[in-house]
Structures are given as C-alpha cells and as structure tokens.
C-alpha cells in the first residue's frame, strides 16, 4: 500500500534565539514518509510540532532557524536552499495545510484568483481559462458545491469548513508528492472534522499522496493514520504502527496521553491529566525531559541523569522505537 520514500528527514534540529537564551524547539528529529502513507505527529502545544512543520518547508523566519539536519524531498535536501530555489518546490512537490482557516486566505482576493495563481505559478504554460477550469475541478474534488460560481466569491463568504476545503484544494493543486497538514481540523466542529479527514483519506488513496498529519488530538490519529509518532519537548519519544502503540504504549508519556482521552466507559470518573508543565526549552535537563512528570521514572536517578537511548521495537513496524530506559519491559518483549 505504501510507495517509495518521498520525504526523508534526518537529525533535524531547530531553535529560537530569545533574549533569555536559545530555545531548542526541535531536537534531532528523523523519519521518513512514503507515498500513500499517513504519518502522524502528536504532542501537546509547546512540544515543537508547528515549528517542525514550518521548518520542513523552510518557512522559519528569524529569530527561528534550522540548527542541523537535512530534509530530503525526492532525494533533494531543502535545508539551506534560498527562497529562489524553494519557491519552485513549495506548492508543487510539498505543500502545507494551515490550522486557522479564518486567516489563511487573502481576504481581498477571490478564491478563484488564489487557486489560479497557485496553478499558473507552477504550470506557466496553463492559460487563464484552463487554470480556471482546473480550479473548479479542484473545488469539486474537495466537495465544494456549485464550484464554478463559488470561484468568484471571497473568503469571508465561506464557512470555516469550506475554507479548509479550499486550503486543501490549494495544497493539492499541483499534485504534490507530500502534504504537511498542521492541525487541519482543530478549528472545526466534530462533524466537519470527520468530513475533512475522510477527504484526506480519499485524496491519499486516489492520488497516492504522502500525508504528514500534525495534531494534538489522539482520537483523530487513532483511526486515520498508519504510523504514529509522539513528540515531547522537541523530540520524537515514540514511533510505531498506530494499533501497536495504542495497544501497548511503550513510552510513559504516550500511555498518559492515551489515558487522558475522555472514555465514555469511565463516565462520572475524574478525567486523568498529566501534572506539571512542559519543560523550559532553554534549560533542558541532561536526563529524560519527561522525568519530572513521568509516573514511572519520576525521582529515579537514571532517568534524571542519563538521557534515554531510543530502544528499537522492531515488531511494531519499520523504525519503531521508544526513548525510555524501561521501554523494553513496558513493551513486553526483549530488546530486538
């Protein structure tokens, strides 16, 4: 079902220079996304997810910057490319779907104009009329009714859900290899959320698109994505096939996250939360950054002093692992 590697991220680190020292927002993140594969990144707000997404497309502006690592798209490393080179890649091979539909479209230009501009920017040969026809098709593909007339409407005449569909239409306009969706459904009500996810499903299936879904909502990930990655304090602390991780979460943070999903079965009981706050990314501990809040490792010297190595868990899918000293016991098999 999954094609060859579209996006290969190796050792990517990003940081923000602030007056009180440098905040290491993304620390040594590496994974691959294959065509047709839906990879998720889950984490609380402040875990570095959005910065990571922007870093992928080279949209990190000062004072943020990519400190190290490489982002190879179809074999070509995007890190360090100038705006001139990146402009031919963004919106053609890799595109972005933004979280906030309200502010993501230029309020004083029609939807048609913004679609046509995206198309003709990467397909110079396309005439204006053809581009308009193609734009209408795209709107129909993302299930926007009466597409032809709606092209001349302005963003403020679209509902939140419809605007997100337009965002998706723009993202897939030039048939990109991979779409990075940064919290695409967060601002939408539940029913629209489901429709958007279903739309993503069809697009991935029909176009063999690679999808990198970034969200804080585990429920969205649970029945949608293939591979699940949990991000905490700028690092991927656990990766694996969705079902395997949900069944036996190896990293205590992943387990805590899953338990904090409101479960109808436990109606009336207090909701479980994770105490404490995410760590200050300017003064990260040498040991495990989750230690102060970790039900398993809190207070244990090894957790506080020694940074946990990534423990490979081969049976949970390619490249699965968990960064925890007790990952092996928790996963229930010996170290692979």
């Amino acid at each position: 079902m999954t094609g060859n590697v579209v996006l290969d991220i190796a050792g990517l680190s990003a940081e923000f220079a602030t007056r009180e020292g440098t905040a290491h927002v993304v620390r040594d993140v590496g994974f691959t996304v294959r065509a047709g594969e839906k990879v998720a990144i889950v984490g609380e707000s402040g875990s570095g997810k959005s910065t990571f997404a922007l870093a992928l497309l080279g949209l990190l502006d000062p004072p943020g910057r990519i400190a190290a690592g490489a982002v190879r798209l179809d074999g070509r490393d995007l890190v360090g490319l100038g705006e001139g080179a990146l402009k031919r890649v963004r919106g053609r091979s890799i595109s972005l779907v933004f979280q906030d539909p309200m502010g993501a479209l230029d309020p004083i230009k029609t939807i048609g104009a913004q679609l046509v501009d995206t198309l003709r920017r990467h397909q110079p040969g396309l005439s204006r009329a053809d581009a308009r026809r193609r734009a209408a098709e795209l709107l129909r593909e993302v299930e926007v009714g009466d597409a032809e007339r709606r092209l001349d409407d302005y963003p403020h005449q679209y509902s939140g859900g419809m605007r997100q569909r337009v965002m998706i239409a723009i993202a897939i306009a030039n048939d990109p290899d991979i779409v990075v969706a940064d919290e695409p459904t967060t601002a939408l009500d539940v029913t629209t959320q489901a429709q958007i996810l279903a739309l993503f499903d069809r697009l991935v299936a029909r176009r063999g698109l690679a999808l990198l879904m970034i969200t804080h909502n585990l429920a969205v990930v649970a029945n949608f994505c293939d591979t699940l990655q949990v991000m905490y304090a700028g690092r991927i602390v656990e990766r694996g096939a969705v079902d395997a991780v949900f069944e036996r979460p190896a990293h205590p943070y992943t387990e805590a996250l899953i338990e904090s999903i409101p479960d109808p079965a436990r109606r009336g009981a207090r909701l479980r939360t994770i105490e404490g706050l995410p760590p200050d990314l300017r003064r990260l501990p040498t040991g495990c950054s989750f230690e102060p809040r970790c039900p398993v490792g809190r207070g244990r010297p090894v957790c506080r002093t020694v940074a946990p190595p990534p423990v490979p868990l081969a049976d949970r899918g390619p490249g699965a692992f968990a960064e925890c000293h007790f990952a092996a016991e928790r996963a229930g098999e010996g170290a692979a």
């Binding site: 949209l59 230029d106 004083i108 230009k109 920017r121 403020h156």
Partner: protein, 337 residues
C-alpha cells in the same frame, strides 16, 4: 452599489453646506471693513457705503449668505479687491498650478512611502530604523525652513536646479495652455526643453511639499504592513510558492493599502495647507499664496471661494476613496450592497 453612492452624495451635500456656513460666519466675524480697505483711506463715506451695497455687505447675515450661495452656483464667486480681478478668473488661472504641484508632491510621497515601507517591513532591523528616522525628520522639519535649505544647497551652492522663479524660467516660452499643467502641456506640444524646465522647477517645491504626506503615508503603511505580515495567509502564500518578497508585494501590500487609503482622504487637506507655505517660499503662482494674502487682507471673497472649492474637491476625493476602498475590500462593498 448605487444606494451606497446616493447615500454618500447626500451626505456630502450636507457637509458642503456646513463648510460653507462655517467659512461664511468666521470671516464675517472678523473686525475691519473690507469696503474701506478697498477704497483706501481718503475715500469719502458715500463711496464706501456704495461699495458695501455692491459687495452685498449691508444686508442681514442670512440674506448675505443666500446671495453668496446663489452667486457661487452661478459662477460669480465675487470680486477680489486685493488683486482687482473677479475671483472666478483668479482661481481658475491659479488653481492648476497648485494642483500640478500637489499631484507631483503626492506622487513623490506615494512612491517613496510605498518603497520605503515595503523595504522597512520586509528587512526590519537597521533598515527599518533608518527608514523610520527619515520619516520622523520629514514629519518634524518645518517645510518652509526645509524649502529654503534645499534652495540654498541645490540652487545657490550647487546650481543643479533652478531657483524660486515660478513654474518656468523667464527664458522658456510657456507651451500653449491645454490642461493648465505646464508639464503636460509641454508634452502635448512636444516641447522637450519646456518640459524639462517645468519638471526642474517642480522638483524642489515638490520634495518640500511631499514631506508631510510622505511621513504620514509611510508610518501608516509600515504599521499595517508589519501587522499583516504576521497574518497566516502570508505564510500560506509562501507555502504556495511565492518568495517572501513577492508574498509581501502581492498580498501584504494590497491589504495594507486599505486602512492607508481611508486616511489619504485627509492628505488632500495637508497638501493644500502645505501649498500655502511652500508656494510662498518658491514663488509658485498657486492658490495657496493667494489665500494667505486673502486672509491677511481680509479679502473675504477669495478666502471663501477657496474654502468652498476645497470643500467640494475634498468631498469628491473622499467619495473616490470610498469607491476604491469598496473595490479593494469586498467586505466593505458587500456590506453596503
């Protein structure tokens, strides 16, 4: 759109009436009898009274006002006794000079403001600080002081530009007047030398007059650009394939124009006010200098005609601004439709 237009036109007429009333009353309050001033110290009592009747100064305030408005609409804007000509011909001949200088100054201010604001908002850091320093200087420096400094440097010291001798140097034969704009008329007549001379005469007063509008436009445009540059649709535009610069130019700038545009209606007033000071320093045969003398010599008819004229043009300017705002910002036009 038409309901919106009629509403605005109706409103404009009301404000015009208000402006004419205010202008009429203020100047009638001031002491001194213009008839006496015109006829001079040794004129007899009867001649002064006769002139008062002729100028309509004897009736009640209300009758004087109505007489004035009736005449104004008929094109008889009264007689300017401080220059000895009907006001209508006087202003008709001198207004193009003010308009030409004003438009040239606005053009300079606009281009400079857009260029500097874009660069300042895009690069931030030292460039931004530098640009803001320039805008502060432009706002703070008194124009008549700056005008003279420009003359001292570029006319007397360097000799690059002509001195303050009006719109054309005496040596140049003025092109046949078609539009009243010497530069345009010179082009129409294909007279290159006259065009260059006219343009040269426009530069120094143009720059002096452009100071205030430039600083006003720059500060507003820059503030709006910085705000809008933070909006998500700029990042989205870049993710669609625009470089950061093009995202600024094609998306941030038009959106930043909107609030700047509504403020530019006020700029018209500043340009006219500025012309009063600049025309005097550069001996520019415009309406600004005429009004200053008019106020000093209490030449009611000139001052009033100028105020009413500027009110009409001001209202037209605002109407145009509202229409353009409607075209650019669908939300506004939409609401009005």
């Amino acid at each position: 759109m038409s309901r919106f237009l009629i509403g605005r036109l109706g409103a404009s007429l009301v404000s015009l009436f208000g402006a004419s009333l205010v202008a009429f009353l203020i100047l009638r309050l001031s002491p001194g009898d213009p008839a006496r001033l015109f006829l001079g110290p040794f004129a007899g009592r009867e001649a002064v009274d006769a002139l008062r009747v002729e100028l309509g100064l004897d009736g009640s305030l209300a009758s004087q006002y109505l007489l004035y408005i009736a005449n104004f609409l008929r094109g008889d804007w009264g007689f300017s006794y401080s220059t000895g000509q009907p006001v209508a011909t006087l202003i008709a001949r001198r207004f193009p000079a003010t308009l030409e200088l004003g438009l040239f100054a606005f053009l300079l201010a606009f281009v400079a403001a857009v260029a500097l604001a874009l660069v300042a908002a895009y690069r931030r850091g030292p460039t931004d600080a530098g640009a803001r320093a320039v805008s502060f200087f432009a706002m703070g420096v008194p124009p008549f002081w700056f005008g003279l400094v420009l003359l001292l440097v570029f006319f007397e010291a360097l000799g690059w530009l002509p001195g303050p001798d009006g719109r054309l140097s005496l040596r140049t034969i003025p092109p046949p007047a078609v539009t009243g704009f010497v530069t345009v008329d010179a082009l129409l007549a294909g007279d290159g030398a006259a065009f260059r001379d006219a343009l040269a005469h426009l530069i120094l007063p143009g720059v002096t007059l452009a100071l205030m509008p430039f600083s006003f436009l720059f500060r507003l445009l820059r503030a709006n650009l910085i705000d809008i540059a933070r909006e998500p649709f700029i990042t989205v535009a870049r993710s669609r394939g625009l470089t950061r610069w093009w995202a600024f130019v094609r998306h941030a700038l038009p959106n930043a124009f909107l609030p700047t545009l509504t403020a530019s209606g006020l700029l018209f007033g500043q340009l006219l006010a500025g012309s009063v000071l600049v025309e005097r320093v550069f001996v520019w045969p415009g309406v600004g200098a005429l009004v200053t003398d008019g106020v000093l010599k209490q030449d009611f008819s000139v001052v009033q005609a100028f105020i009413l004229l500027s009110a009409v043009i001001y209202v037209l300017c605002n109407l145009a601004v509202d229409l353009i705002a409607g075209l650019i910002d669908p939300r506004v036009a939409g609401a009005a439709r």
